[in-house]
Symmetry: C2
């Protein structure tokens, strides 16, 4: 096998600082987002001599290696093709250009991937607004500060637009930074069709095939939804949908009390929802550092309209339809017996994320995934 495979698994890591001003948020860092994402000129990098502005005029790198699928390419369209233009792919692309490689990046959805579009960025935007909302509604808090406010509320669409506008701005900066450095952005879903060969294209259009000496897989992750749960995107949703804030339910069940569930409980309770956590393990936030989970319980759970069921699986969730609410069937995690049935206005499935490798054509280069993951050695 002649392709070098690297796997960049972008997951949403919560960040704690949010510069809350209308000026450029220059201190923001989400996941591995580089300065370029925030519209800080890359020309200053260029002027330091570290980044070449364009590598388009350079002669292509070639390889004398031969592939093993019929007619192997002897020269390549690119030195490097990156599949996936999330923050992992973006960082890899900028680094590759810095090292003098002719680089293309293939994106089937939107530049910025999960972090910018369906993760860190919009979630932190929602958290910032909901934090303000919580302050404004606390008479005690405002009075303690010496501030006076009469009647505070929010406009759901306005809050949603704020998150979307921020994502859109960063998305555009990411795109521009790659274009300015001469990275080719190829639009369409990428599939590896053989060693050093990738096809990409939009549904309904003819596929294009490009070749490269090396390929980086940076396709990130997608929400993991357990069996028995029917996601309709309206009343039974994942974080992908929740971040659009199309609807603020009176009562929402959040399945999973990891950081994704916890962030949304913060947003929803600030906007007026009541929250019920459903957690399979015996306590909330089981993956957290114990000191942090204790603090989170005291500050983010106890004082709010949040209750919880622990030690139970949500084995079946049916979306609201025909005037009926969302039905959540709870099963005891140990005895596997039916325990309870909840009727709620919405359910958010926050049970973690899974690698996004389906349809990537890994079988064409004899890579066998393990639960979606690409097995790698310590040198990737």
């Amino acid at each position: 096998m002649h392709s070098t495979l690297s796997f960049s698994q972008a997951t949403t890591v919560p960040t704690t600082n949010y510069a809350f001003h209308s000026q450029s948020p220059i201190n923001l860092r989400f996941c591995g987002l580089r300065r370029e994402a925030f519209g800080i000129s890359i020309l200053t990098r260029s002027s330091s001599g570290r980044v070449r502005l364009s590598t388009r005029g350079r002669s292509k790198r070639t390889s004398a290696s031969t592939g093993n699928n019929g007619t192997p390419p002897k020269s390549f369209d690119y030195d490097l093709i990156i599949i996936g233009a999330g923050v992992g792919g973006h960082g890899a692309a900028l680094h590759a250009v810095e090292k003098g490689l002719k680089t293309a990046i293939i994106e089937g959805d939107v530049v910025g991937g999960t972090c910018v579009n369906r993760g860190c960025v919009p979630s932190k935007a929602l958290l910032a607004v909901s934090g303000r909302m919580r302050e404004l509604q606390s008479e005690h808090h405002m009075k303690a500060l010496g501030l006076q406010v009469s009647a505070a509320g929010y406009d759901r669409q306005g809050v949603a637009d704020h998150a979307n506008n921020l994502a859109s701005k960063i998305r555009s900066n990411l795109t521009n930074s790659m274009k300015a450095l001469g990275v080719d952005i190829l639009t369409g879903f990428g599939t590896i069709v053989g060693p050093q060969k990738v096809k990409y294209g939009k549904v309904g259009f003819t596929d294009n095939v490009v070749t490269a000496k090396d390929i980086i897989i940076a396709t990130g992750s997608v929400p993991f939804v357990p069996k028995g749960i029917e996601v309709d995107g309206k009343t039974v949703i994942t974080s992908d949908h929740a971040l659009k804030l199309e609807f603020v339910p009176d009562w929402i069940a959040i399945v999973g009390s990891g950081y994704i569930g916890l962030e949304f409980s913060d947003v929803y309770t600030a906007l007026g929802s009541e929250v019920t956590f459903i957690e399979a393990l015996d306590q909330l936030m089981p993956g957290f550092d114990p000191e942090i989970s204790k603090l989170a319980q005291r500050v983010l759970i106890n004082p709010r309209k949040i209750d919880y069921h622990t030690g139970v699986f949500a084995t079946k969730i049916t979306p609201a339809r025909d005037g009926k609410p969302v039905i959540v069937e709870l099963t005891d995690a140990k005895t596997k017996e039916h325990k309870d049935t909840l009727e709620v206005d919405a359910a958010l499935i926050a049970t973690g994320r899974a690698p996004f490798t389906y349809g990537l054509g890994l079988e064409n280069i004899n890579v066998v995934t393990q639960r979606g993951f690409v097995p790698v050695d310590e040198r990737m």
Copy 2:
């Protein structure tokens, strides 16, 4: 000379993080303030075995050395006396106890010194409130977030109380942390009367004299007021007065555009004042890193009701009296000629800070200060 003299010059260093919630601000760090200042139990430190809870039962350390002023003490009341219970003295006291020294701290004003009472802590409290005020008053900003607020204002006394309450809470935590560790807090203005000998007492009361093997001077600093400026504490003020926020003038001249002046321009403009900076050098914020001053100019100066005179000294400032405003005489810094006269509602003198060593009795141990500073070698 048998006393070991150390000099801790506490100056107000601006901090940028302010946890803006009614919960305990556990991430706050002001100057060198230790965890204890924020009410985090010192018992956890003790339980780690690093800190002894009390050293009162231990035998006193003695010294065979003899002093040079008549009857030198052969044994001492304390191993260590610290003059000044600001954050420098507090840190030194805790460290001394940790090392097993019987320790006393002498404070003539309030525990916490400049940082807690007249510097970092209340200024950050005011900045936090004024930042919120600025947001609430920006229709564009609130709308961009999807938040709706009708009529926002502030209660000056409430804002002042907020800053004072925060300082008071931290002051009390500092005091308790020292008491719990067995540090004797001696109240009164401390004066060195000879080697290893300090007197302290309140005005109008008999002085007490205590002896110690070593003395640490941690008396910090006070606002520096240039000649010709008459501070009345009402209309011509220093940061000591301004932090009490007894008055929000319509128009305030701020003499000096260092970080202290800049912080107050932020507070006053948010609360509705117009600000005029008076800076002796040719540009604002002359001591700042150029990139930071450029950013500050763009974000903190230009969009606000702030104008400035540079290259001028405020050679004479007269407080408002008999119905007349504050008069500020400006002199050209180069030609030394009279340049302009301003009539304003108030003037804040923010021309830096000077060591507080006057009255400390340094002459009694033959220490000659240099512009108020105690000369030290590289080993203090």
